[in-house]
């Protein structure tokens, strides 16, 4: 491969994105309606590396996935810090990774605000355990293809003694398939940053293109040239961090809440819109305050074309604490270009049909947030935007959809002449698991697979 002939530091003179070396995951979204996440542990470095070596050629690169849509499955591989250690990365190199990644998501629960029912003590799938070493993410065109790939990987794993499946999660898009939405019925994937140099067309209101270094290590970011990258450079360059979150959605509780606070279907829709900041169709409240406008929600030339400071400073349309106003405060926060993240993921569990009571079946969203700095991007969003009760000086509120709710926080809906305040908001979601992964470049995957020695063979995670 041409790429291997470059120097080990791997720098390109012109800082053009090395699409053949970057995993596709954060760069392009393939047309997948099914997915499977497999969480793995390595009993020895040698078996972990052997497993990896056999999979590298199946990992989709940004170049291949961007140009070739005849594929029907797309593979991504990531490692926890414990996983890098388990593969035999030496201590000097391991120490150069940022502290939050070294600690892992579970250890940062207090910072993230994942407390109470959201605490790692309650997480499923061994995600809070140090034995979690790797994730294999599979996106597939449909369920049939997903199942074919599942069996194929099952057979491969059976040959890889010492690589074990800790847990897995199957995901499927919710019908109708003509637009992406989650279990509460909100249209999803409306606002994504555009990476400079990718040629992706900007839609109105989505902000300027963001420097690649905000998402991929080794490139200039919004603050200037890359600095402080983990070493050696071949391991970190073209890599990204992703924060994984599995979030159960309490659809029954959500619908009960809407009925409790709205007498008519129209009033219930308005309450749903006020929690989110958009109507469930995706139409933003700032652009259509009084009634839903599904054509606006579906129109990407218009559904992001709004600001808050000028168009809705007091939150009469979109409440100051609504989900989208917290997760993307647009012109009411500073340094927004340093807080951007790329979201990937999907829904799991069957839909709860309208009119049915809560059936107790697990359903929700399992998603990844990609960035170059977990502490500056993802952890800021969790710590400040989602879970700071005093965000925008609200005093006692958290994100109504995504924040950690325990019935003690409120939701203020500005309204003339007097605001409406909902006391004791219930939890509509519960975090069921999460982890920090590093998505290495293709070159770094080969580097990891070719490490020598087996000094991490007897990993001991006893507390």
């Amino acid at each position: 491969m041409v790429i291997l002939q470059q120097s080990l530091t791997g720098r390109n003179e012109d800082d053009a994105l090395e699409l053949e070396d970057i995993q596709h995951f954060l760069m392009s979204r393939p047309p997948a309606r099914a997915a499977r996440y497999e969480f793995l542990t390595f009993r020895s470095a040698a078996c972990g590396r052997a497993w990896l070596m056999g999979l590298i050629d199946k990992v989709g690169t940004a170049k291949a996935v961007g140009s070739n849509l005849v594929d029907s499955r797309w593979v991504t591989i990531g490692f926890t810090w414990n996983g890098l250690q388990a593969l035999g990365v030496d201590e000097v190199s391991l120490a150069t990774f940022p502290e939050e990644f070294r600690q892992g998501m579970a250890a940062r629960a207090e910072i993230l605000g994942t407390t109470g029912a959201n605490h790692p003590d309650h997480w499923v799938g061994s995600l809070a355990r140090p034995e979690l070493h790797a994730i294999a993410i599979l996106f597939a065109r449909d369920v049939t293809e997903r199942e074919r790939c599942r069996k194929e990987h099952e057979r491969y794993l059976a040959q890889c003694t010492g690589v074990e499946l800790l847990s897995c999660l199957d995901l499927e898009a919710l019908p109708p398939f003509d637009y992406a939405h989650e279990h509460f019925g909100y249209r999803d994937r409306l606002s994504q940053p555009v990476i400079e140099g990718t040629g992706v067309e900007l839609t109105p209101g989505s902000g300027p293109p963001i420097k690649p270094g905000e998402f991929f290590l080794g490139y200039p970011d919004e603050d200037g040239p890359a600095a402080g990258m983990p070493q050696p450079g071949i391991l970190s360059r073209n890599g990204s961090y992703v924060a994984y979150l599995m979030m159960k959605e309490h659809v029954g509780a959500f619908r009960d809440f809407l009925r409790e606070h709205g007498e008519t279907p129209e009033q219930q829709e308005l309450i749903a819109a006020k929690l989110m900041g958009r109507w469930r169709s995706g139409a933003p409240l700032v652009l259509t305050l009084d009634k839903d406008d599904p054509s606006l929600g579906a129109d990407f030339q218009r559904n992001n074309a709004f600001t808050y400071a000028d168009m809705d400073p007091h939150g009469y349309a979109c409440p100051l604490g609504a989900h989208i106003r917290r997760m993307n405060p647009r012109d009411t926060a500073v340094n927004m270009n340093r807080r951007k993240m790329i979201r990937r993921g999907g829904t799991y569990g069957p839909p709860l049909p309208e009119g049915r009571p809560e059936d107790g079946i697990e359903r929700g969203i399992a998603a990844f947030v990609g960035c170059a700095s977990l502490v500056r991007q993802f952890e800021f969003a969790m710590n400040v935007w989602a879970n700071d009760p005093n965000f925008h000086e609200l005093g006692n509120e958290r994100d109504p959809i995504f924040g950690t709710q325990d019935g003690t926080f409120d939701m203020t809906i500005p309204k003339r002449p007097v605001r409406k305040k909902i006391r004791g908001l219930p939890a509509f979601t519960t975090i069921r698991g999460g982890a920090y992964f590093f998505l290495p470049s293709i070159r770094a995957l080969r580097y990891l697979a070719s490490l020598s020695g087996d000094h991490r063979a007897d990993l001991n995670y006893e507390d």
Binding site: E110, I111, A227, G228, V334, V375, R376, N383, E393
Partner: protein
């Protein structure tokens, strides 16, 4: 050892002056923020007191910097708005152990939560340029955000007592109250 602190009422009463004694650590119970312990909101809001020794022969450079910040705010009065400030004070003092610099701020946002925004603003407005005259300031401050954050964290001296005559009131609330007063005064004028 941090001790349990007084529970702060969710709806605070600004009519009742309040004082709060704070343990040596600067907090009552350890609550981790992204970059270190979270310091509590007190009757005097949030704040920091960053103290560091001035490098030999740099006193005039530090004093001259006062003028540059005065200019920066005059040219753009809202330049420091993102910090949600009440007051900032810059002090030079020598109590026998050499010249020291103190940068004290009272503001409404949590020190830990908006550190990156504050540092970005310090760089943009030139506030950081005064810090190159201080001992311990990282040489690579322009490219090493985490080293700058570490400097602020390590040189922050938490208060052991804070008092508020109108406790927990934010700068925004003060400004809104003054705007209302002005609006009422204007209304009364129009009624004459």
């Amino acid at each position: 050892m941090a001790t349990p602190g007084p529970a702060r009422p969710k709806e605070s009463d600004w009519t009742k002056p309040a004082a709060m004694a704070i343990p040596k650590e600067g907090y009552f119970t350890l609550e981790q923020g992204r970059y270190g312990p979270i310091f509590p909101k007190t009757p005097a809001c949030h704040g920091f007191s960053v103290v560091a020794k001035v490098k030999d022969g740099r006193e005039q450079a530090v004093r001259d910097y006062g003028k540059s910040i005065e200019e920066a705010v005059k040219n753009n009065p809202s330049v420091l708005a993102p910090l949600k400030l009440h007051y900032l004070r810059w002090i030079l003092f020598d109590v026998g152990s050499g010249l020291h610099f103190m940068y004290q701020g009272i503001f409404d946002t949590d020190f830990d939560k908006y550190l990156e925004d504050a540092v970005a603003l310090f760089v943009k407005t030139g506030i950081t340029t005064v810090f190159v005259n201080l001992e311990g300031w990282p040489d690579d401050w322009k490219t090493n955000l985490s080293a700058v954050i570490k400097f602020f964290r390590e040189h922050q001296c938490p208060s052991f007592l804070e008092y508020g005559e109108y406790p927990y009131v934010t700068a925004d609330q003060v400004k809104k109250a003054l705007k209302l007063k002005a609006a009422f005064a204007n209304m009364l004028d129009l009624m004459q």
